[in-house]
Symmetry: C2
Subunit: 295 residues, 2 copies
């Protein structure tokens, strides 16, 4: 049964005559008449009795009108919902972000988003880049904030990479460390030090930096929690490399931070599935993140 004909029939029932319904629909009378004829042919019974002065529903017609009303109601609700979603009066954005972004960039972005669009919901999953990509691929999140050290972390096919910025990596030393007094510290100075490293990609970066200075770091402790890392360093258990955002999110009062281009930089940005920004809520979140990173 053609649902459009059902709605035309509903309009006829509402208007009380075929002509009136045609006027309401902006059509001519025969157009509506033909649709009704087709509907009656489909259903196999008369839906309305035609007479001068209008039209009157039969029993099947009354039964069908009930259904037509239900269909029209759901259609109307669908339109309302779609309108709410496109005007950002409703919707959910699901984010995944690596820990230091989850502590710095994301809260600011969420705050801005809620200010502009109070009815949007945001959910956040903290995840290191590989897991974030996995969440993205399985459709568990809409946007994934990820980072990469040297090459950009472009994921598998179907994912779009949008760089947001670059941040320096800093050296973190214990407060009473022998190098803490030195004005400049080079990678080669740390060949004999015990190391505290983070997630696999961060560890890989540390190894690469050390390899550039001709040695392999002695990894003593592993933690992807930058608070844990700084506490380990603070009590003298090793040295560490941490990106600026991690130190921005939490700065242990006693550790010594040394800045140098030698420690490299880290690129961070958003990953999303192709076409995802066509969802208004996702696009709004994306705009918010881009605005924060650039502005």
């Amino acid at each position: 049964m053609d649902p459009r004909r059902l709605l035309i029939f509903r309009e006829v029932a509402r208007a009380g005559s075929i002509s009136a319904a045609a006027r309401a629909l902006g059509w001519t009378q025969p157009a509506v008449s033909q649709h009704l004829r087709a509907l009656e042919r489909e259903t196999g019974c008369a839906l309305l009795l035609r007479g001068a002065g209008g039209v009157e529903l039969t029993e099947p017609g009354r039964a069908l009108l009930t259904r037509a009303d239900a269909v029209a109601a759901h259609l109307h609700m669908a339109e309302q919902e779609m309108a709410a979603l496109t005007t950002l009066q409703r919707g959910t954005v699901r984010l995944a972000a690596f820990p230091s972004a989850a502590a710095t960039l994301v809260p600011r972005a969420v705050a801005g988003l809620r200010r502009r669009h109070p009815d949007l919901d945001v959910t956040l999953a903290e995840a290191e880049p590989p897991e974030a990509v996995a969440l993205l691929e399985e459709g568990a999140v809409d946007l994934a904030l990820v980072f990469g050290y040297d090459d950009e972390p472009v994921g598998p096919a179907g994912l779009v990479w949008l760089p947001l910025g670059e941040e320096p990596v800093h050296l973190v030393l214990p407060p009473d460390h022998r190098l803490a007094q030195r004005r400049a510290v080079a990678p080669a100075d740390l060949a004999e030090e015990p190391w505290v490293v983070g997630c696999p990609r961060c560890r890989e970066h540390a190894v690469l930096v050390c390899a550039g200075a001709g040695f392999e770091p002695q990894v003593r402790h592993v933690s992807d929690d930058y608070v844990v890392v700084q506490n380990l360093v603070a009590v003298g258990l090793g040295v560490a490399l941490l990106p600026r955002s991690a130190l921005e999110a939490y700065r242990h009062p006693q550790v010594v931070v040394r800045e140098s281009a030698a420690w490299g930089t880290r690129t961070f940005g958003v990953l999303h599935r192709e076409g995802a920004p066509a969802v208004p809520a996702t696009a709004a979140a994306l705009r918010e993140l881009v605005g924060l990173a650039s502005g």
Copy 2:
């Protein structure tokens, strides 16, 4: 929002890919693709993310799918109901009938109808022809069993008259009446008798018959209930004319009935609104009545 597109979208969501939906619908892939594009243009947001290996719903898509399912469900129920109504597994026929038909023809017709179509409902309103026509015109009944004495009781425009038969009118005399012994009784013999008459049209008929014999009847009692009429006659309060069906429905054990062409005949049949037999249940009832009257 075009409801057909909604259903196409639903099929795509169900099938998991545009191509699969196109196969299910018996169309080509671009046809479905174009509909989806149009739907997304209408709603203003992406409903699904296209990827190799199929398609995945976005948040608006999931919301819309819920509505699409509801629309499809109501559409399906509508089809089921229409099928039930056309196959007479459901439906109601509302009858109006004059008293003696309500006591004879209609019960037989209803019995036959219920035997053939046990799920049909029948309602009956007893009404003399003028009220029956009124019920028909105001849409309170589907079929009206009416009678007429001389001219056929064709009602106002828009009503169709279907004659079912003709029945003789008989003279009803008290058991101890002076004429009860006579072999032949003519209208002129009753010039001095008191009369018991029925409904306005029946009374009019009696008056016409008497006028043909040159006198005006002395109407003493009026009742459109043929049981009452016969009881009045039985105790000698007057003579009466009753149609055969009234005497068939109830025959007072003591009254004397005399048959003669002089008492005239009565035509009875069904009136219905134009197009009413296009409703299956109405048509079935009509067939039943015609079958009973002719067979």
